[in-house]
Amino acid sequence: MNIRKIEENEKICVLKIIGTNTKVMNAIRRCAMSDVPVLAVENIAIHKNSSVLFDEYIGMRLALLPIKTDPKIYKKGDKVKLVLKERGPKVVTSADIKCSDPNVEITAKDVPIVKLKDGQQIFFEMEAVVDTGREHAKWQPALIAYYELPKLDGEVDEKTAKNVLNSCPKKILEYRAGKVLIERPESCDLCFCCEEASNGKLKLNLTNNSFILKVETYGSLKPALVLEKAIEAIRERCEKFEDELKKLK
């Protein structure tokens, strides 16, 4: 397996993976979605709410806020207390939420929770719990997707190749020794313009063994860490399976 990093920043990590199959990629994707524990607001005590929004409406909004989680400190089942106490006139945002632990913060700062008119008050005590996406989507750490990379099969002469190269709206094709190569397959939109321009000589196929993996975090964990934790989850499960197998002997 050959892995190359295409892009990485605080929010997104894009990897090109060559020499694997869809089963492996899908295992990583599903584990990243449902087996990586992060913090999210679970229990709320509403002491006061005279705003125009209902208690449960605000509760839902609070639960969806992504909370920065340090996996070294917070294991599955751990809890942390948060408080939101405001008085109008004010637009209450996620930045107004105070936490007992300075390591824990809400990553999306300017999300409006509720708008308060003069004299309206809210007072919420919240409990954020570490759990996984299997339980509820609010604990899902990242948006993760993989695509099979395309390739062009078949041979063409130089004249047709020129047409093919021009037909590509993304201009990512290159002609080399009778073959048209996709120079940056990760940018391909699968528009099939190259196939049409080649008069049936070229065929756009999927490679089946090379993939592009995109991890876009919601803010609770770094994208690379999401992958790391997902793989850890797969390993844990395989070990459990192995232990059970040993018992059979």
Binding site: Y57, D110, E216
Partner: protein, 64 residues
């Protein structure tokens, strides 16, 4: 009512973008350009901001 915290389809946070989006659009800027500048790529997230109507301000007038 009030801008949703997350995109309905993909789940990425869009609530924090609404204030800037509305300010820029009210200034007369093309919504497409504003969304591109803010890095909202997918059309699911773009429709969240484009089609949102902030009703809460009107509703607040009728609260006690």
């Amino acid at each position: 009512m009030i801008i949703p915290v997350r995109c309905f389809s993909c789940g990425s946070v869009v609530g924090d973008l609404h204030k800037k989006f509305e300010e820029e659009v009210r200034k007369g800027k093309n919504p497409k350009e504003v969304l591109d500048e803010m890095g909202v790529k997918r059309y699911c997230c773009r429709r969240m901001l484009l089609t949102h109507v902030e009703v809460i301000d009107d509703l607040m007038k009728f609260s006690i």
